[in-house]
Each structure stands twice: as C-alpha cells, then as structure tokens.
C-alpha cells in the first residue's frame, strides 16, 4: 500500500505524534499495519496498561513494554529503541512537553535505526520536529456495530492535512472510511 493511496500510513524512518482521547487506539491501529517487534514505552508509575486480550490480532505477542522511572530515562529508552534496526514501531508516552532538542534527537535516531516512532502526547505538548501530528478522538455512532474514530491530521511536514472519520473495530488492520454523506446524516439526526 503506497503512501499516496493510504492516508494513514506513517512516513517510515520518522517520528510522529498523536494526541487526543483516542491516541492509544490509533497507536494500536498503526501497530497492526507493521511487522516486527513493537515497543511501548510508558512511565513506570502509569496506572494504565494495554490489556492483552483486548489487543488487535497479532499485536499481543509482538508487544514489549518498557517502564522507565523518570522522564529522562523514558526519552533515553525511546532513543535507544529507535536506533535499533528491525523494530516495527516504537510507541511512547512522554509526560512532559517534548523540547525541540528532544524531538530532533528522536528524529535523528529514527533515521539512524531506520525505524518509526509514534509519540502519544497530551494536548499541545508536541515538538516542532514531529513529522506528522494526529488528533484522534473516538466518536459516538448511531449504529450498534460500528466503532467510529475521527482522525485528523493537524500537522504534516510533507503533505496536506485532513480529517477522516473511519470505522475501525479494533481487531484487524483494515479500516473503512465513512463517506461524507454519512457524516452529514449523523449530524442531522442528532438535532431532536
């Protein structure tokens, strides 16, 4: 699948950012589309954990968790992981705003190791060095069998931005875009 046809393909060998409530879903969606080991770096004191039984197919056995105790160790671990050739995707959850220096170092590490990183940041805590920044929110759907996500590309160094409303069920690598008219109907129906 080429980058042109697939708007959700992350540019390889770069570091990307995702924010918003649905950023972890987005990270797992990206994990399903990549081969090779996955490394998820999250702070040691974080309460939340990925739940093995709920992960998409083929992700659980490839996933490794790294839980550093402080922010410095976290960034160091991400950099080391990015420099390791062969890692499929590095997902990291930094707690503090990423400085330009940190963001740039991560980009260099990703280029050196030919790996791709996805930083799950809080709102507005990204770095200018990020290749793309996505804002991901789950949205309510009228139909019972659809799990809708709105993934908006807010920043893109090498392309245009855009907003997509997609149906991704959290199991497989496939995703269905919801057509524009479909969105319109949703909006119209909620008024009463």
């Amino acid at each position: 699948m080429s980058v042109k046809n697939d708007p959700f393909a992350l540019v390889p060998h770069r570091v990307h950012e995702a924010e918003g409530q649905g950023r972890r879903s987005f990270a797992l969606f990206q994990a399903t589309r990549r081969t090779g080991p996955l490394i998820w770096v999250l702070p040691g004191h974080a309460y939340h954990l990925p739940m093995l039984r709920g992960l998409p197919e083929g992700v659980g056995q490839r996933l490794h968790l790294v839980r550093p105790t402080n922010e410095g160790d976290l960034l160091w671990a991400v950099e080391e992981a990015l420099r390791t050739t062969g890692v499929g995707l590095i997902i990291a959850e930094p707690e503090k705003p990423l400085s330009l220096i940190a963001g740039r170092r991560l980009q260099l590490a990703a280029e050196a190791g030919r790996t791709t990183g996805l930083m799950l940041i809080r709102e507005g805590q990204g770095s200018h060095a990020a290749e793309t920044r996505w804002r991901c929110t789950p949205i309510a759907s009228e139909r019972r069998d659809s799990t809708l996500h709105r993934w908006s590309l807010k920043k893109n160094k090498k392309g245009t931005s855009g907003i997509w409303t997609v149906h991704w069920n959290g199991k497989t690598a496939s995703v269905h875009s919801v057509s524009a008219t479909g969105e319109r109907q949703c909006a119209a129906e909620t008024s009463p």
Binding site: Q21, L28, R53, G60, R67, E80, T84, A140
Partner: protein, 405 residues
C-alpha cells in the same frame, strides 16, 4: 570419588577412607545422619564391588565385609543385578530367582540364553570383572584475571584491559558451548578496595565487543582512587549456547539487535522494567495476563478470544460519579469520570464476573461485578462495572476499568 548412579543414586569409591571415620559402620551412620538432617530418605550399602553395593542398597542396605560378597548376594533376587526387567522375568521363568542360583551355573549357556549383559553384571557384582567409578567432572569456572605491572586509572585503559579479559573469557565460554548471562568485573585498587561492576545480558552471549559496550557505563562510574592494579572478570551466571552459523539471513541479526537493546535497557532501567505480556488462564480482568521480564520469557501468542470484547487499555478501577439514581442494574444515564461528564448512548452487558474465591484479592472483596461496555455520546467507549453485592450503605458502586478502541 563420587559419581552419579542412575537417576536417584550416588556411588562412591571409599577405598582407604573408612578408618578416618572410625570404620565402615561409623562412616555409614555419619552419612545417614547428615543426609537425614537435610531431609533425604536414603538406603545405603557398602560392599567390595560396585554391583554388590548397588544390589544390597536396593534391598535393605547394610555392609558386606570383605570376602563375603558371594554369600551376601546369594539371597538377593536376580533383579538386583542391574539387568532389564525382561531378562529378570526370563530368569524367574526358568526358576532362577536368586543370585545364589545363578552363581553356581556354568557361564556359557547363560550367556547364550540371556546375552552377555547378564554374565557381565553377575561377574561385576561378584568381583570377577573390574568396574571403575568415573566421577563427575568439575563444573567449569568462567573467570579470568589480570594483574597489571603498573596501576592504571584512565577509563580507556580499563576498557582495554577488559577487552583482553573478555577475549579470554569468551574463548573459554565458546569451548564449553556456554553463553554468559550475568558478569561481574572486580577492579582491585591499590588501597585494597575492590570496585565491582555487574551487568546482565538479555540472552546468553559470548561476543566480546557487545559485552564490552555494556560495561562502558559502569566502568565510567568507578572511582579508581590511586589506581587499579588487578582486574577479575567472572561470568557467574551462564547458560547453554550451542555454536551457531555466522552469517546467514538478516533476521538473525535483527534478533541480535533486539537482544542488545533489551540488554542496554535492562542494565540502565533494570531487567524488571523491560517487559512482555503473557496470556494467563484467569477470567479476572487484572489477572488475565501476566507481565514478565522480556529477558527471561518467551513470547506466547494469546489464545483466540471468545465471549464479550475486552478493552484495549486497562487501569485500576476508578470511581464514577453518577447523577441521581438510574434504573437499578443498568448503567447510569449520566456520569462523571476523570472530571469529564458523559451521557450514555448505548450499553452492552452485563457480563458477570465472579471473584476467584481461592485468592483473597482485596480489590474483589466487594463481591461479583457486572461489566458493561458503555458507549457515550461524547465518544469515549468505556468499560464500566458495578458491584451488586457491595454493602447497602455505599450508593456509589459504579467504576470504570478500561477503554475500548
């Protein structure tokens, strides 16, 4: 000279030793006392030959003084001769039940009928054939040391010395088909102090270059004082590492790269912070997976999931504030979680999960839980549960425990 004898036996050559204990009975009593103290039940025998000692130990134990082997063994069954059960059965069918019956028979017809194994065992037991004891080889020791003519203190010098030690150590490891798992480096300073640097490896390894890189950080932190005059490098934990073909497809190099990454991460963060999720057989959400150190576990693919969906993210239960009393047994129409208010759009459930009574888990003291997948108008899809068995005094018994994709 002690050797292993079968799965549950030890054989020792005690020629010339018993007088140190005051005689054979005293030696045997001392052995029994020591092994019983560590909680082992045993039966032992002392005899002139290995076969006789084995036969007697299997049938009551005791001591056969010198020259009484033939009489002592005569009353024992033929199965005591370390022969296969089929041979023993054949002998008993012939009416030869005791060793005494065999000893007087001519050897040639016996060998023709039952094979030379029986005759060999019989002769060994009676002392007509020699049977040496081959003791266990000493476990190899993976340690090397180096004494320096002049004290050194520069980090680069220490690393150069370490390289030389590692070359020798890795050659020894390769000779025994072992790989190091943990190593420590002792730096003996001029003032008799010893600085230690210890590292762990994510998997058994004997590549000097890659191990040296992991020592760099620890060596940099050592205080050399007035100089280091001797170095000692010990691989105190080793594992089997069969020789591998060098070169080959690229995937092997990627495995190496990942193992190196886990070694580096583990040595700085601790090996208990580089983890992997493993499936577990429990219905309790918190215990449905294990978190295991990646360096000491193998990836397992989770079993295919059946039943209601599970969230992608799990966290400890967080209290959900409900507004007013909803329909009993149904999720609240409005609730507040993490200071955000939500309106329930749709709820799937309940899925009732009962506590595992054989574990006393404080989190599950409130009894069984009814889990619901709640879709909110705000978008979030949450995993809520309530505890119908909670004491009546607490009205707040809705909790959030996970987020769906």
């Amino acid at each position: 000279m002690v050797a292993r004898d079968g799965p549950g036996g030890l054989i020792a050559d005690i020629s010339g030793v018993p007088h140190l204990f005051g005689g054979e009975p005293e030696l045997r009593a001392d052995l029994h006392a020591r092994l019983e103290r560590v909680g082992l039940t045993l039966s032992s025998a002392i005899a002139e030959t290995r076969g006789a000692a084995y036969a007697l130990a299997c049938h009551g134990g005791g001591i056969l003084p010198e020259g009484t082997v033939q009489d002592g063994l005569a009353r024992l069954p033929v199965s005591a001769l370390r022969i296969g059960s089929d041979v023993a059965e054949g002998l008993s069918r012939m009416g030869l039940n005791r060793i005494g019956d065999l000893a007087s028979l001519p050897r040639a017809p016996l060998a023709r009928r039952f094979g030379t194994g029986l005759v060999l065992r019989l002769d060994q037991a009676l002392g007509l054939q020699p049977e040496p004891i081959s003791p266990e080889a000493e476990a190899p020791y993976f340690g090397v040391r180096m004494t320096l003519p002049e004290p050194i203190g520069v980090q680069a010098d220490v690393m150069a010395g370490l390289r030389r030690l590692l070359d020798r150590l890795c050659a020894t490891l390769a000779g025994h088909h072992r790989g190091a798992r943990r190593l420590h480096l002792e730096l003996h300073r001029v003032d008799r102090e010893i600085a230690r640097v210890e590292i762990g490896l994510a998997r058994p390894m004997r590549d000097p270059e890659r191990i040296a890189a992991l020592f760099a950080k620890g060596v940099a932190e050592v205080d050399a004082g007035f100089g280091i005059e001797a170095m000692r490098l010990v691989a105190h934990v080793t594992e089997d590492q069969p020789p591998e073909q060098i070169g080959g497809p690229r995937i092997i190099h990627e495995d190496d790269a990942l193992a190196d990454l886990f070694s580096r991460l583990g040595n700085r963060l601790g090996f208990d912070r580089v983890l992997r999720l493993l499936p577990a057989a429990s219905l309790i959400p918190e215990r449905s997976f294990l978190i295991a150190p990646a360096a000491y576990s193998e990836a397992e693919s989770p079993p295919p999931h059946r039943g209601p969906d599970r969230p992608i993210i799990i966290f400890p239960p967080e209290l959900v504030t409900t507004k007013g009393l909803g329909q009993p047994g149904h999720p609240p129409a409005q609730f507040t979680w993490r200071r955000m208010s939500f309106n329930t759009l749709r709820a799937d459930g309940p899925e009732r999960i009962t506590p595992e009574w054989w574990f006393d888990d404080p989190a599950w003291r409130s009894g069984l839980r009814d889990y619901w997948r709640v879709e909110t108008r705000e978008g979030a899809r949450l995993w809520l549960f309530h505890t119908p068995q909670a004491p009546a005094g607490s009205t707040q018994n809705w909790f959030a425990q996970g987020e769906f994709a």
